[in-house]
């Protein structure tokens, strides 16, 4: 994932230089740290946070143990990784649910940080986790904000509670809680109007809502592209509202993510979720250790596995395994597999999580691959069900029809058929081997 791309590229450059030296002196470390400091500052990490961070890394890195070790550069990188993780909160933290439902989650933040969209995404995420959420529209100021939440609600098929835009937001919040109680919703997600942290009147309104309905979680929504001001915003919201956590949005851009690194450090409040795309399922639990791995180009295999588990249903995987073993794997299955893989997210995001592939350069060609996948899909969709089951029947005339139908060339169709044949052979080899060693793994293969 190209998250923190710039910061990540800079730091990796610094460490490459470091690795090229066998022995390290204190001076080498200082020089490297100076560049780390600059990289962090350019990434919009708050100045004070950077200062503390560099001081901590230095204190640990110039010790006799590190410098005298056989792989001093590795040691230094390890220290930076640990400190980065620590800076972002160490452990990942979850939503606190009320012992007696409904739980009220209140989203607050500046204008344009993405509160309303995040409400929708959070509702979708919680529902995937088996909860029954109700959305509540308490942004009575921005034109059409309520309508926006209603549209999201209807897309997700989740009820949206509204009293229109002429009603006090505190009454709306209270009304939503009543609704939840009587209709069995266990979670209420309250959207509030965007406001500047220095707008006293609007901040008083938030405090009033809080006093009225006593939310179990107040989440501050922060745009990942925010500059040095992020700490002021977070500090003020925290002082006045007592926030419980942060949702970081728009992480799918190339923001250097300084906000992520600073907000936790200055408020002590954890980042709980990150939004990584425009689709309504693009909200993830935030994992500091994984994020710091991504920043340092170490990849993020754990997230890939989790996404795979979400995208592939276990029963389907078992059926697929059966088919593979019995050599009944058809182009139709191939297409299903392809769609499952794409469900896991855009390819460039996925590959960005693979260790060693996180660099911008490696990701350049990927837009092409995404296109290629689209092509393959179009070709298979242009085949008749019979052709999909029995590709050997596809002759020259059929190939021309398929190519015309999918907007591709006959060569493309040929290439796909050849690739499919090879895949089949490969599967046969694997399944022959695995028959001797036990069942195939739960992870479906990637074409």
């Amino acid at each position: 994932m190209p998250v923190f791309e710039n910061l990540s590229a800079k730091l990796q450059g610094v460490f490459k230089n470091l690795r090229n030296r066998g022995k390290l002196t204190e001076k080498d470390v200082d020089l490297a740290l100076k560049e780390v400091r600059m990289a962090l500052l350019e990434a919009d990490v708050n100045f004070k946070v950077v200062k503390d961070f560099v001081a901590r890394v230095r204190a640990r890195a110039v010790g006799e143990e590190v410098l005298a070790s056989l792989t001093p550069a590795q040691q230094v990188i390890k220290i930076v990784h640990e400190e980065l993780t620590d800076l972002m909160g160490g452990q990942s933290s979850k939503i606190t649910f009320a012992p007696k439902p409904p739980t009220l989650i209140m989203l607050v933040g500046l204008q344009g940080s993405g509160k309303t969209t995040t409400c929708g995404k959070l509702a979708a995420l919680l529902r995937r986790q088996g909860r029954k959420p109700l959305l509540a529209a308490a942004d009575v100021y921005r034109p059409a904000a309520i309508r926006q939440l209603q549209v999201l609600g209807s897309q997700l098929n989740i009820e949206v509670f509204t009293l229109g835009d002429k009603v006090d937001p505190a009454d709306i919040a209270a009304g939503a809680m009543e609704r939840a109680k009587s209709f069995g919703y266990d979670t209420v997600i309250l959207d509030t109007a965007g406001r500047l942290h220095i707008d006293d009147e609007m901040m008083v309104e938030l405090e009033r809502i809080r006093a009225r309905v006593l939310p179990h979680e107040v989440l501050l929504v922060v745009d990942a592209m925010t500059g040095q001001d992020a700490v002021n915003v977070a500090t003020t919201f925290n002082q006045r509202m007592g926030i419980d956590g942060v949702v970081l949005t728009k992480l799918d851009g190339d923001a250097r993510g300084g906000a992520a690194l600073s907000v936790r450090a200055v408020t002590g409040k954890p980042i709980k979720f990150v939004a990584t795309g425009e689709k309504l399922d693009a909200l993830e639990q935030f994992h500091p250790d994984r994020m710091s791995s991504r920043i340092l180009g170490m990849g993020d295999v754990l997230t890939i596995i989790e996404r795979a588990q979400e995208a592939f249903d276990a029963e389907q995987a078992r059926k697929m395994e059966e088919k593979l073993r019995k050599q009944q794997f058809t182009l139709e299955d191939f297409l299903n597999q392809l769609q499952d893989v794409r469900k896991m997210g855009p390819l460039d995001q996925l590959l960005g999580m693979i260790p060693g592939l996180g660099k911008a350069k490696a990701l350049k060609d990927l837009q092409v691959s995404e296109k290629e996948l689209g092509k393959v899909e179009a070709i298979i969709r242009s085949m008749t069900p019979e052709e999909r089951r029995n590709p050997s029947m596809i002759d020259g005339s059929r190939k021309r029809r398929i190519a015309a139908g999918s907007g591709t060339k006959v060569q493309d169709v040929n290439a796909l058929l050849k690739q499919f044949e090879q895949t089949r052979k490969m599967i046969k080899q694997i399944s022959d081997a695995s028959r001797r060693r036990g069942p195939l793994g739960k992870m479906p293969f990637m074409p």
Binding site: P2, M38, L41, E42, A43, D44, N46, F47, K51, L110, Q111, G112, S113, G114, R142, P143, A144, A145, R147, Q148, L149, Q150, V151, L152, Q155, L196, H197, I198, D223, M225, T226, G227, Q228, D229, A230, N232, V233, K250, D252, G253, D254, A255, R256, G258, A259, E278, Q367
Partner: protein, 308 residues
């Protein structure tokens, strides 16, 4: 610029100025001559104003030079230098905030930017400003992606008294832009403001969509769009430079609208953008009211930023 406009921008920038000056004074308190530690502190102060590494470096260089020459560098000289440098970068004389005007037919203004910077709101405010100036204005709802974006623009249309041309949500934004242009020409309005969907500059397919909107407008009317304004949130950090770069490459920006300058954000990012691409800031948003959009004046901006 009238005194009232000046004071409005000043008010919007007060927080910025106070923070910056306060910090610079802290740095220099009790120091007749600048030392290396103080320089480093100052560097940090500038970076914290989101001024950008380049601008910061050039200012630091000038200060260091003075210090090396044995000149006393106190807080006055430092602020003076910063103001000079900002003015130089903003190119106070060559950049003009006025909007371009079509030779014939409607003048087309296209609003572009990443999500949540305030494109729709700025479109509404510009419409209000033009309409108060006696011009006929029309709005095009070419943000067909975000839920309820069309309704949001319609509310603005009613406030300002400007017709809004729209299609269904999810329809082709270029088609909306084209229809809007035809309608604007037929009805003889002076300005057509095209609101587009927020998009992250890293999504190349969405940037292609934006290029298409521009192409279609260009085919519809000579020289259209006459203005392509990038809406930048003042709270944005260095990422705004990347935004400006990519949007500029895609649709050739003619200006910037800097929004949300009434918070504690420094707005220093504008200096960095000007320094890199020479794109002028045309308007600044300094509040939530319909009239809280002001023409940008580099000179006022620079002096508001650093003067006492």
């Amino acid at each position: 610029m009238s005194p009232s406009l000046f004071s409005a921008i000043r008010a919007g920038l007060t927080k910025t100025r106070e923070a910056l000056i306060g910090k610079i004074e802290q740095v220099f308190t009790g120091k007749a001559r600048i030392d290396e530690e103080a320089l480093e502190e100052l560097e940090a102060v500038l970076i914290q104003s989101d001024l950008g590494v380049k601008a910061t470096e050039s200012i630091m260089e000038a200060l260091r030079k003075r210090a090396e020459e044995g000149q006393p560098v106190d807080s006055n000289t430092a602020t003076g230098l910063i103001e000079e440098e900002i003015l130089r970068i903003l190119g106070a004389d060559s950049l003009r905030p006025e909007l371009a005007k079509a030779e014939q037919g409607p003048t087309v203004i296209m609003m572009v930017g990443v999500n949540g910077t305030g494109k729709t709101t700025s479109a509404g405010k510009i419409a209000s400003m033009l309409s108060k100036g006696g011009h006929g204005v029309m709005l095009a709802a070419a943000d067909t992606f975000r839920a309820a974006a069309i309704e949001q623009l319609e509310v603005w249309g009613r406030r300002v008294g400007a017709p809004v041309i729209k299609h269904q949500e999810g329809s082709d934004p270029a088609a909306v832009a084209f229809d809007a242009f035809e309608a604007a020409r037929a009805r003889g309005v002076d300005y057509l403001i095209v609101d587009t969907a927020g998009r992250l500059h890293t999504k190349s397919n969405l940037m292609e969509e934006l290029k298409k909107i521009k192409r279609v407008l260009g085919r519809a009317g000579t020289g259209a769009p006459h203005e392509v304004l990038l809406v930048v949130d003042a709270t944005t950090g260095q990422n705004a430079i990347a935004q400006a770069r990519v949007f500029n490459e895609a649709v050739e920006l003619t200006g910037i609208v800097l929004t949300k300058l009434d918070g504690t954000a420094r707005g220093g990012i504008v200096v960095a953008i000007c320094s890199e691409f020479g794109i002028p800031v045309k308007y600044v948003g300094v509040g939530e009211g319909v009239d809280d959009l002001r023409p940008f004046d580099p000179r006022e901006f620079a002096s508001s930023l650093v003067s006492h």
